[in-house]
Structures are given as structure tokens and as C-alpha cells.
């Protein structure tokens, strides 16, 4: 009779019931004095108890299939199995970064010296399946072939503008600003990636439950794609930073708070950030909605080892008051304006070079 068969359970159940009835019924006959009577009682009780324990074991084992057979139970099964590899057709790998255009970035003023390259790209996220249009600024002197040189830090600029018609203009303006700061020695060489904050319905760089996985794209796919094509810092070195404009600010802070293993710094406009921009998709879950509130995250989760720059001091500044080490929050001051690119890039450069120096 099999260890996991119904028959064994039935036999043990019937046996236990019969033994119980028998012991109750025959009780007076074993009530006498003398060692033989006592031994008979012990035997009757022991057999009953062991049958019940056996029944419990059989039922539990059947439901959880711990042991599949008697030989399994007694450890008589030996030998291992062969590993069989699945047969798959060759897969068509999609390039993580497709460069569709390229132009020189020139410093303003006399000479118009070349100061880096602006590429128009489409970045494909292997894991999320999302493809985002964007721009990549490569600093002067960048060459992918120079493997020996230290990988460059990366700043991801997440902006509503990057998805719009005005995108080429804003990308040119941004890369020109970066080029000027670098040429003036205020900013070390770094790669600037410009991306839209919007992917479908989501505008907060969040994973829509059961839908578009934008958080996966930004936190995992993006560093991997950039790292596999450009001479960019590995995400694990924390030499990545985020810069967000009015709608990209939520993205920047949200990603820094949830992926601090990659992003060390974020620069964004002041705000409450209590909900993602747009309608927000939280799959009908109040809990998901709650953790989409970044002030809630700051109050209820451990402080992340990140630096946050606010473009200006606003009316209500929960971020500045909530941040405690190892998180640092600071602001640029009232005169900074809504989109102070040069100052924000300088600050990011300082933060990233500091984290670079600290690790020696």
C-alpha cells in the first residue's frame, strides 16, 4: 500500500477508530491489579496512540507530499537525474541603444569649438520591453574605444520636454549648458542621458501594476543599456544621478528613493511629491497609492544614502525637514528659477565626484 495512497489513510483511520472503541469497551476487563494487567493497559494505549500519530503523519504527508514513497521515507532512493536543456531557436537580440542621429555640440561665442556630441537615440529596455526616445550627450574627448580610462559618471535628465516636439531644442540647450560648464572646468566629464518622463499612462516612472514597467526601465534597463554601449559607470558604483524638471521631478526623487543602489543624487524642483503626476496608476490598491506618496516613503522607510537638491526654497518644504543622514537635502535658493540647469549640473558633478573620491 503506497505511502501517499488514500488506502493507507483509510486503513489507519478505521484502525484508530476501532482501537478507540475497543479500548473504551474493554476498559473494565483491563482494570485489574497485577503486572500483566498494567502491561496490557500500556500496550493498548500505546498501540492506539501510535496509530493516531501514524494517521496524522499520513494525512500531513499526503497533503504536503513530503515523502512520495516508502523507499523515499526510509532513504532508500538513490541516484540523481540528468539535466535536460530546453531547445530554443536563436533569439533576435534588440540593440539596447539605437543611434538615429548625431550632431556636434559647439561652445557659443567665438571659434565655436567642438565640445562633444549630441546623439538622438532610442533606448530599448530588455527587461521592461519599453522603448524610449531620448538624447545622449557625450562630452568632448569621449571615445568608446578608450577602455583603459575610467568609466564616466552618468546623469539621467528626465523631462516632460524630452517627449515633445520641442525636444530637439531643449536637448541642444541642455548639452550646450553641460559643454559650457565642462569647458569652464566647473563640471567634470560626464554622460548626459535625456529621457521623457511619460510612458503610456504613467508619468511617475512607476511600474503600473500588471502594466507598463517604467520603474524597471529606469532603475534596471537604463543603466544596463547605457553601460553595455558607452564607457559609462556601472550602476553599482553609485556614480549615477537624476535631474528632473516639473514633471520629471517626481521621477527623479522616486527613483532615487527606491533605487539608491544605483542613483546617488537627484536634483528637482520643490514640491510635495505626494502623488505621481497625471492620473496615477495604483491598481486599485490603497497600499500602492500610499507608497507612491514620496513623503510617506520618507516617513516610513529607512533614510536612503542619497543627496537631493531642490531648485528653490518653496512654501512647504517637507523634503528638507524630513531628510536625515545618510540622506542629505539642500536647496539652491530663491533666485535659482524653475530650471537652473547649469547650477544643478554643477551640484551633481560635485556629488558624483565626491562619491567617486570616497571610494578611492
Amino acid at each position: 500500500m503506497g505511502l501517499t495512497s488514500r488506502g493507507l489513510v483509510a486503513v489507519l483511520a478505521v484502525g484508530a477508530a476501532g482501537l478507540l472503541a475497543g479500548v473504551l469497551w474493554l476498559w473494565p476487563k483491563l482494570a485489574g491489579r497485577g503486572i500483566r494487567m498494567i502491561l496490557a493497559r500500556i500496550a493498548a494505549l500505546a498501540v492506539l496512540e501510535l496509530t493516531v500519530l501514524g494517521l496524522i503523519f499520513a494525512v500531513v504527508n499526503r497533503s504536503a507530499d513530503f515523502y512520495s514513497s516508502w523507499s523515499d521515507l526510509f532513504g532508500a532512493d538513490t541516484g540523481s537525474g540528468a539535466i535536460i536543456a530546453g531547445q530554443y531557436s536563436a533569439s533576435q537580440a534588440i540593440a539596447p541603444v539605437a543611434v538615429t542621429g548625431s550632431s556636434a555640440v559647439r561652445l557659443p561665442g567665438r571659434g565655436k569649438a567642438r565640445a562633444g556630441t549630441l546623439q538622438t537615440v532610442r533606448i530599448h529596455g530588455q527587461l521592461s520591453g519599453l522603448t524610449m526616445p531620448g538624447y545622449i550627450y557625450l562630452p568632448a574627448g569621449y571615445s568608446a574605444a578608450r577602455r583603459a580610462a575610467r568609466p564616466l559618471p552618468v546623469v539621467a535628465v528626465i523631462s516632460d520636454q524630452a517627449g515633445r516636439r520641442a525636444a530637439p531644442d531643449s536637448a541642444r540647450r541642455l548639452s550646450a549648458t553641460a559643454a559650457v560648464q565642462m569647458a569652464a572646468g566647473r563640471l567634470g566629464p560626464m554622460i548626459v542621458v535625456m529621457l521623457p518622463s511619460r510612458s503610456g499612462q504613467d508619468q511617475g516612472c512607476l511600474n503600473v501594476p500588471g502594466g507598463a514597467q517604467a520603474a524597471t526601465f529606469f532603475a534596471q534597463d537604463l543603466p544596463h543599456a547605457i553601460g553595455s554601449v558607452y564607457r559609462a559607470a556601472s550602476p553599482f558604483t553609485r556614480r549615477w544621478a537624476l535631474l528632473g524638471d516639473s514633471s520629471g521631478g517626481y521621477c527623479a526623487l522616486q527613483l532615487a528613493l527606491t533605487s539608491s543602489g544605483t542613483f546617488a543624487a537627484a536634483a528637482l524642483p520643490p514640491g510635495t511629491y505626494s502623488a505621481p503626476p497625471g492620473s496615477g496608476e495604483f491598481g486599485g490598491s490603497p497600499q500602492l497609492r500610499r507608497q507612491d506618496n514620496l513623503a510617506w516613503l520618507l516617513r516610513h522607510r529607512p533614510m536612503q544614502p542619497i543627496s537631493v537638491l531642490l531648485f528653490a526654497r518653496g512654501r512647504a518644504q517637507p523634503l528638507l525637514s524630513l531628510a536625515r543622514p545618510p540622506m542629505y537635502a539642500t536647496s539652491l535658493g530663491p533666485a535659482a528659477g524653475p530650471w537652473p540647469l547649469a547650477a544643478a549640473l554643477d551640484w551633481i558633478g560635485t556629488r558624483l565626484s565626491r562619491s567617486g573620491l570616497a571610494k578611492g
Binding site: A31, E49, Q126, L127, S234, Q287
Partner: protein, 452 residues
């Protein structure tokens, strides 16, 4: 008194025997055929039977370590919670709570033996009390002049550790790290080792991975036989908040268990030991609930874990009273944690997964269904035993081929070999990491993550 203490188990056995003895002693007093007497008989039998069941449960639990402590069984534990909200996490991500736990390969025993034999076969709690650590010998690398036992160089080290997650605030104690003997040898003094994260089932204690799965002893034996290359094994309880069954899930507005294993644990290991940072340097292995965790972590974080072994795992969580609400009531988020759904609806991740099962197991059809859904760039491998159940015997038989399969997919630690001696070793001393790598990261770079 501890739940798994020997004295507690003995106490329950004594109680069961006393229950039986009492019944035998009181037997003649309730021997009349009146209804009241029969009711009392029934009560006596029920009481002694209940004591016998308790003794059996205590003995089985003490042996298999389903629940390691009263707080694990009943809740209310304070050690493993996200109590650090709003504050800085522990500055030291890994605290070594015990060391010198063995195991000596070739001893024929799956039990750890201490290097000097004195502490052999003692439960892990014993070491925490009685053995203090020369931590620098483990963390900083080998100081060959002294302080490091010769045993570590020949047998490796098994450490008991507490891991604190900087990102999630989760702290998980009584886990184990096995450092292979090569870790302490001069040729490997600057080598970074690949890591296998091994996860238990539910409910369980991480010590089961050492004692029953015999992971360190098996790995040490296979390395000694030249069948696998040395790696660091991190053996952890897949449950971080027993008695809750968290299924390696980021619970909305709750414990972030998935992030703990995918982000915090790798970071903690990299800051403490000479290990590789990610990708082809990391793999994850588990049995039962740990198998689900392994498959899920690899599929969700393929840039961190390049391969996974799921032994008797399942591929979709059934939530119940043990788990509580894991998905915040969102069916979409629940789907994201269903690996069948992921394979149908999301792009396949670039990982390799070995799924094992037996023909006698309830999870066998589900395993086959999971394997059928795998498509490139993901790669599925299967190992199906003709006999065996959901137990350590089965997993122990599956382990050696599983570790060999993993070893072929992990970037090896590269020993420093004098130029003339490379050929004498019979294999290239300096196999390029990029050959098995996934990205263009320079993984041989010195410390890859910042210490701030």
C-alpha cells in the same frame, strides 16, 4: 525555554509518557460502565493522545527546524522588523555572530565540524555564545602571518551572520556564509569570488541549508574533486519575518523582502567580502518556497542574478492565512509576482533557470508548465527524478549536478598564478570574465561599490 532546545523536546516526551502513565494508573477508578466513567475514559485518552502529538511535533520541529524559536512560531519577534524607518540603517551591513563552524570536507559528515574538533556538532546558537571572532582574518583577506588557522586554508570557513539591509531596513539573523578554502589561499588573495545565494523553504531556519542540504560540505567536496570552481555561499532564511510567509515579495506599504534579497544582500556581501558585484558573478538557489524566490529574483533582477536553481519550487504564490495580504489588493501587482504570467506577458529576461522536480511531487505538472513557457533570451533547464518527494533527501541528490550546472554559469575567481605555472595547472589561469559576462562592466575593478 527555546522551542528547538533539546531539553524542551525531552520535556514534551516526558509529559507524553507521564500522560500515558497517569491513564494507566487511573484506569481502575473509571472502570465502571456508567456514562460518566466512559466520558472520563475518553477524556484521559484524549489528553494523553494530545501530549503524544505535542511531543511528536516538538521532536519533528526540533529535528527539521521549521520554526527556530517561539517568536518565529507565534510572532512578536523584534529582531527582524523594519523598525528602522526614518533613521539610518546599521552602518555595518553584516555582523558576524559566530565563526569557525567547519565544515571539513571529506569528513563524511554533513554536520559542521570545527577546525579543532572541540565544537563539533553543537547547534549554531552555541557558537554565538562561546566563540568570539578574529573578524579581520575573514573580512580583510588572509593575513598569512598569523591569526588565521591552517584549517581555514584547507577547509574554508563557515560564519554565522546577521545581515542588515540598508535600503529596506530589514534585518535577518542566523544566516550563514561559507567561504571556500581558496578564499584564504595566497594565490587568491586578490581574487573576487562568485556568490551563490541559497534560500530555505518556509517555514525554516537557515541552518537547514548547512545541516540537511549539506550545501557547504557538498560544495567543498565538489571543489576538491575539481568538478566545480570555488564560490562563496550565502545561506539565508527566505522568511525574514517568521511566522509570516512573505514569499520574497515587496509588500505594498509593507516589508520589502524582494528588494532586501535583490539589492541589500548583494550590497552587504560586496562591502564585507571579496566577492564579485553582480551579473555573471551571482546566482541564486533555493528549495520549495526558496525555489520560487530563486526563480522570481532571477527573473526580476537578471542583471544581478544571471542564473537560478529552483529545487521543487513553485512558480506562483498561493496566498493564505500564512502570507496575509502580499499584493495590497491589486490584481495587477499579484500578476507581476506570478511567474507564469510574467513569461506570458512580459519580455523574457536574460537568465538561465534550472527547475527540478520529481514525478511523485504535486508541483511536477506546474514545473513542466513553467518550463514550457520559457523562451529566449531566457533559458530553461530541467532535472526530473523518477523517485523522491518534497524533502531534503531529494534535494541533496539534486544538489551536486545542480552546483555543477551553476558553476559553469558563474564567472570564476581568478587566482594569481606565476606565468610559468599556468600550464601546469592544466587550465587557463586567466579566463576572461567577459566570456560569461552579460554586460560591459569591468568586474575585475577593485572595490566596485562606494563606501561613502
Amino acid at each position: 525555554m527555546g522551542l528547538t532546545n533539546r531539553s524542551f523536546v525531552e520535556l514534551t516526551i516526558v509529559a507524553a509518557v507521564c500522560g500515558l502513565a497517569c491513564t494507566v494508573w487511573l484506569w481502575p477508578r473509571v472502570a465502571s460502565q456508567r456514562v460518566a466513567s466512559i466520558a472520563v475514559r475518553l477524556g484521559l485518552i484524549a489528553a494523553s493522545q494530545a501530549l503524544a502529538v505535542i511531543a511528536l511535533l516538538a521532536a519533528v520541529n526540533g529535528y527539521f527546524m521549521f520554526y527556530g524559536s517561539w517568536s518565529a512560531l507565534l510572532g512578536g519577534g523584534t529582531a527582524q522588523s523594519a523598525a528602522t524607518a526614518g533613521t539610518a540603517a546599521s552602518p555595518r551591513p553584516i555582523t558576524i555572530t559566530a565563526t569557525d563552524l567547519g565544515p571539513v570536507p571529506g569528513s563524511g559528515s554533513v554536520l559542521p565540524e570545527s577546525a579543532n574538533g572541540k565544537l563539533a556538532a553543537k547547534p549554531p546558537h552555541y557558537y554565538a555564545k562561546h566563540h568570539t571572532v578574529a573578524k579581520h582574518a575573514v573580512v580583510g583577506g588572509p593575513s598569512l602571518k598569523g591569526g588565521l588557522s591552517r584549517a581555514a586554508r584547507s577547509a574554508g570557513e563557515l560564519l554565522q551572520v546577521t545581515i542588515s539591509g540598508e535600503h529596506t531596513g530589514i534585518t535577518s539573523g542566523r544566516n550563514f556564509v561559507y567561504l571556500p578554502p581558496q578564499y584564504f589561499q595566497p594565490a587568491y588573495a586578490r581574487a573576487r569570488f562568485p556568490v551563490v545565494l541559497a534560500l530555505t523553504g518556509y517555514p525554516n531556519e537557515a541552518w537547514s541549508l548547512v545541516k540537511f542540504l549539506a550545501l557547504p560540505a557538498t560544495a567543498a567536496g565538489l571543489v576538491a574533486d575539481g568538478k566545480i570552481r570555488p564560490a562563496v555561499y550565502v545561506m539565508m532564511n527566505s522568511s525574514v519575518a517568521l511566522p509570516r510567509d512573505t514569499e520574497c515579495t515587496d509588500i505594498p506599504a509593507g516589508l520589502q523582502v524582494e528588494s532586501f534579497f535583490a539589492q541589500d544582500v548583494p550590497l552587504a556581501l560586496e562591502r564585507t567580502f571579496r566577492v564579485q558585484p553582480s551579473g555573471s558573478g551571482w546566482a541564486v538557489l533555493g528549495y520549495s518556497a526558496g525555489g520560487y524566490c530563486a526563480a522570481k529574483l532571477a527573473m526580476m533582477y537578471p542583471y544581478q542574478f544571471s542564473a537560478a536553481v529552483s529545487m521543487s519550487g513553485y512558480y506562483n504564490t498561493i496566498t493564505g492565512s500564512g502570507t496575509g495580504s502580499l499584493y495590497g489588493g491589486s490584481s495587477g501587482y499579484r500578476n507581476e509576482n506570478n511567474l507564469y504570467w510574467r513569461l506570458r506577458r512580459l519580455p523574457a529576461p536574460p537568465v538561465s533557470i534550472l527547475a527540478t522536480s520529481t514525478r511523485g511531487e504535486g508541483a511536477y505538472p506546474g514545473t513542466l508548465a513553467f518550463l514550457r513557457l520559457i523562451h529566449p533570451p531566457m533559458r530553461g533547464y530541467s532535472m526530473v527524478l523518477a523517485q523522491g518527494g518534497h524533502n531534503y533527501g531529494t534535494w541533496h541528490r539534486e544538489l551536486p549536478p545542480g552546483l555543477e550546472w551553476l558553476s559553469r554559469r558563474l564567472a570564476p575567481a581568478r587566482p594569481h598564478v606565476a606565468p610559468g605555472r599556468a600550464a601546469a595547472l592544466g587550465r587557463p589561469a586567466d579566463r576572461s570574465l567577459a566570456a560569461g559576462g552579460m554586460g560591459g562592466y569591468q568586474m575585475a575593478a577593485p572595490v566596485a561599490r562606494s563606501k561613502r
